[in-house]
């Protein structure tokens, strides 16, 4: 064998050694090539053979080829004859030594030992030495040197790789745990979690999404998300938005929560609260959508809206009821309120008519024809009688459903007929109309029923008040007539008194005139002036019990006679105290002889205890009496009379009233005639 042949063998083994980066394949393939080239059938590699000089050495085969008994011992520490593993390169026939090898399944006589510099030993075995012309122990020296270096490099690489693998395993474990957590969270999540890849296809679909949309995960994975989840009319817009999203992961709804319509597997649509997040994977934007079915929430919001609407209507109704003075106006205002504040399509009120029908008396928001069309359409569809009539006859609210949207029924899709009840009996119906089906929730119906009851109460109240006012007016008219008759009688009596005393004839009328003039001068209100006038007209009525000869007799009266005359205020008071008058006529009569200083009669009252009308009448009475003729003296004249009251101004008579009286005569030119 020439030099070229040897070089080609070394070249081949060198290529194998240089081609491996991990210790196990390095040792395996190097040993395979050595067996190939040498025709030894069996080989083992021991690494890190411990030093020592004993008869045996404990070593661990890292690789074994060609004998399955040795293969089974790879990785196990074996106690081996030291001459096998220790020493330089050697071909040796040593059957006894080889018989001590544990695990051998064939009989070996020859071994070729090739030490691997400072790393271990390569041992090849054969039953008989294969023929060769080469000094095998020599030509493989450089190969073993290279193998030693390769072992070091591969060990470093294996350690490095093991570190990477450990890191990778750790990362994978962490990822797996994260995945488990993610799966757990998304599995138990109540909201649908869906990931859409850059092609718009579904890449993740959690159990909640299955529940909400009705598709199993295996039905939707990899399919077009928009086609599956979005109603047809929104798809073009969503796809356009998604195209923009793919550019930079942004969009008008990314990072926000919006409410959109979703599409179930069964084709039904439902409201969704959607939150979209952008997720970049391997340089591409993916969308992660968190979706919540808000059908129930929407219904609750609608019910709340309706309840608020009904409450608002009810509140406004109460305001109208408080201010209502007129039934027609009340009905008109309530219907208007239901439409304008309540937001209902229309409202009308009908009263029970003769012939068990209903007569519309007020409406708002729609033409009469529209409500009739709705009732007719609904009745045709349902085959039932007019809901309003049913409400009237049953006394219970009646709901009616039509079709959504406008049509022959004027855009009405639902109505409720609410009976107007008085003492349990319906006397009319309030109809409320809406544009959508199922417009009236249970709460709303309760509130509208309350509104109808309030309206009925208002109507009944208005009707009762009108009735009472009518009766009161009649009563007042009767009283007025009675009072006028009574006053006429009293005046007739007064005239009778005057007629019994010709010297005082016309006294009461004159006093009354002067008293009215003074009160007017003082600025008294007309009603009070009227009381003063009446008091003046009747102030001496008590003299009816004084014999006329006493009244008209000239000369000095006896004590008894004078006492009779002085009793006339009390007598007059008794005559009039039973007559109900709006003025204190009886008190005026009783006090018109009282004086501020308490020297008057019958009770000697002082100051403000004497009512103003009596104080004023006292002045007018004195002035007229002194100015006029009397049987027991001649007339003293007005001036004297005025001097007298001025003299007694502030003592017996009210100062302001005295001044007023003087002005009446001096400045207003009052005269008795």
């Amino acid at each position: 064998m020439n030099r070229e042949h040897i070089l080609s063998v070394l070249y081949d083994i060198g290529l194998v050694i240089g081609g491996e980066v991990s210790i196990k394949p390095l040792l395996t393939k190097t040993l395979q090539r050595l067996l190939y080239h040498t025709s030894f059938p069996t080989g083992l590699v021991f690494l890190d053979v411990p030093p020592g000089d004993g008869d045996t050495v404990v070593a661990t085969p890292a690789v074994a080829i060609g004998d399955f008994g040795f293969s089974a011992l790879v990785g196990q520490a074996l106690s081996l004859p030291a001459p096998l593993l220790r020493g330089g390169p050697e071909v040796c026939e040593a059957p006894e030594l080889l018989a001590a090898l544990p695990g051998a399944t064939r009989h070996y006589n020859v071994f070729l030992r090739l030490p691997i510099d400072h790393c271990g030993v390569l041992l090849m075995l054969a039953p008989r030495q294969p023929s060769t012309q080469l000094p095998l122990t020599e030509i493989f020296r450089p190969v073993m040197a290279n193998l030693a270096k390769a072992i070091l490099l591969c060990r470093h690489n294996d350690a490095y790789t093991a570190g990477l693998v450990a890191e990778r395993d750790l990362a994978q474990q962490s990822l797996a745990e994260s995945e488990v957590r993610f799966r757990s969270i998304t599995t138990v999540a109540q909201d649908a979690i869906v990931m859409i890849d850059r092609d718009g296809r579904i890449a993740y679909w959690n159990p909640a999404a299955e529940h909400i949309f009705g598709y199993r995960a295996d039905e939707v994975m990899g399919r077009d998300a928009h086609a599956l989840m979005t109603p047809e009319r929104y798809r073009a817009a969503f796809k356009a938005g998604f195209e923009h999203f793919l550019v930079d992961g942004t969009g008008p709804v990314v990072g926000k929560t919006v409410e959109v319509e979703g599409l179930r597997k069964d084709g039904s649509e439902f409201p969704i609260e959607l939150s979209i997040s952008a997720l970049q994977l391997q340089g591409h934007w993916n969308a992660v959508g968190l979706m919540r079915d808000i059908t129930d929430r929407r219904a609750a919001e609608l019910a709340l809206h309706r309840a608020n609407r009904a409450l608002k209507t009810l509140s406004g109704c109460n305001g109208i009821l408080v201010r209502a003075l007129d039934e027609t106006r009340l009905l008109h205002d309530i219907c208007g309120l239901i439409v304008e504040a309540g937001g209902y399509r229309g409202a009308c009120v009908g009263y029970a008519d003769t012939g068990s029908g209903l007569r519309q008396v007020a409406r708002a928001g729609m033409a009469h024809a529209d409500t009739e069309a709705f009732e007719r359409t609904r009745a045709d569809n349902c085959g039932v009688a007019d809901s309003a009539l049913r409400a009237l006859h049953s006394g219970q609210p009646q709901l009616a459903q039509g079709a959504d949207g406008s049509g022959p029924d004027g855009g009405i899709a639902a109505s409720i007929a609410l009976p107007l009840r008085d003492n349990g009996a319906a006397f009319g119906v309030l109809n409320v109309y809406a544009e959508v089906r199922d417009a009236f929730s249970t709460e709303e119906i309760a509130l509208l029923t309350e509104l109808a009851d309030d309206l009925a109460f208002g109507i009944v109240t208005l009707r009762t008040r009108a009735e009472r006012e009518s009766l009161e007016a009649a009563r007042r008219a009767g009283n007025d007539r009675l009072k006028r008759a009574l006053l006429g009688t009293i005046q007739a009596l007064a005239m009778t008194v005057e007629k019994r005393d010709p010297y005082t004839a016309g006294h009461q009328q004159k006093v009354a005139r002067l008293a009215v003039a003074i009160a007017t001068e003082l600025g008294w209100p007309p009603d009070q002036i009227e009381g003063v006038r009446l008091g003046g007209m009747l102030h001496d009525i008590g003299k009816i019990y004084v014999p006329s000869e006493i009244l008209s007799r000239p000369g000095k009266l006896s004590e008894l006679e004078f006492g009779l005359i002085r009793s006339h205020p009390e007598v007059g008071y008794e005559i009039l105290q039973g007559v109900e008058l709006p003025w204190p006529v009886a008190e005026i009569i009783l006090q018109h002889h009282e004086r501020l200083d308490g020297k008057g009669y019958p009770h000697g009252l002082t100051g403000d205890r004497i009512i103003p009308e009596a104080r004023l009448l006292a002045i007018a009475d004195v002035v007229e009496a002194m100015a006029s003729h009397r049987p027991y003296r001649a007339a003293l004249g007005v001036d004297s009379a005025l001097e007298e009251i001025v003299r007694c101004r502030g003592s017996q008579f009210d100062a302001d009233m005295v001044d007023g009286c003087v002005r009446v005569f001096r400045e207003r030119g009052f005269r008795f005639e």
Partner: protein, 388 residues
Amino acid sequence: MTASAMLYLPDIRTADVEPVLARWRADRPGMGVLALVPEAERAAVPVLQRACTDAGVALAGGVFPALVESGEFVTQGTWLLRLDHMPYVALYPDLPHDERLPGVLDAMVADLLGKLGDGPDTTLFMLFDGMVPNIGSILDELYLRLSNRVHYMGVNAGSETFQPMPCLFDQSRIAQNGLLAVLVEAHRGAILEHGYEVPEQTITATSTEGNRILQIDWRPAFDVYRELAAEQYGVEVTRDNFYQLGVHFPFGIVRANGITVVRIPVALEEDGSLFCVGEVPANAMLALLRAPAVDSRHTLKTVTRGLAELDGSLDGRDLLLFYCAGRRLHLGLDAARGELRGLAELSRAGSLAGALSLGEIGSTTQWGYPLFHNATLVASLWNASARP
């Protein structure tokens, strides 16, 4: 004398096959048949399959360029090789030659280990499709896994034109790009020898890839070949005559024990590289064997001596021989026939059956590392336990 377990039928006809199967099966109900079929008769494989199915006889076999019969190479008929107790046979079609291979081999080895008997000698007899490009790697991996649990022996089947074709079959299938594995019990393997003498002066071939030689002496392989053909034979190399010329310039993978593993280039690729039957170690440095001398006498002696060492006297026994098609081309038909007859005489075998093969597997010694060769004779006893 025990009747031969090998029978050549000149025609593959149901009427001829059925009586043989019936006769054999009468005494050996568990018997099976290994059939060798020449390429020209491959259409008759279904006849064999049907006949064996009808007879309840297990069948395995391969299609080869020609058969060896009575010291001649024949292209008609069939060899029916009886196995008194049909061993485990597994057909693995479409073997991968990428990273999937270790997984396939793991499964294959697990399969074979499960079927391995307790006897001391079992031969893993392998029939590969000659178009499988990584047979060397497969052998390395099998030896790594099975070690010395079995003896290794095998050949490549297929067409001498190297056109892909289904060439491996069992009782119901015929496959290609695969391996037919037979666990022959009580069998001590085969002896392989080529006798090619490696000249002192060689040309070094470099740059290989898989089973293709890209460069020789750092020059495009085809350029070197064209020069050699012109120099030695005065002919122009074409795709058509390449195989006939290539057999005279085989490559040698030089081993440290002085025995060269021969690789015969059999086709010229589109890119000017040379296609070999059998894997060439990656980037290997090869020797180019220019018209190697063949020591036929040494070859035949080595084979017969080896067989005798394995199985004792061959006198009157059945001998199975596979003869490399490339060797026949290199030596010439007459020399090849001479080797066939020489082996029959030297061995004194009772019967000698065989086929022309496209690559051989075995070792030059009983216990050697199994190798894939070209240009060799592979011989073994058939029905080895039977003695005259």
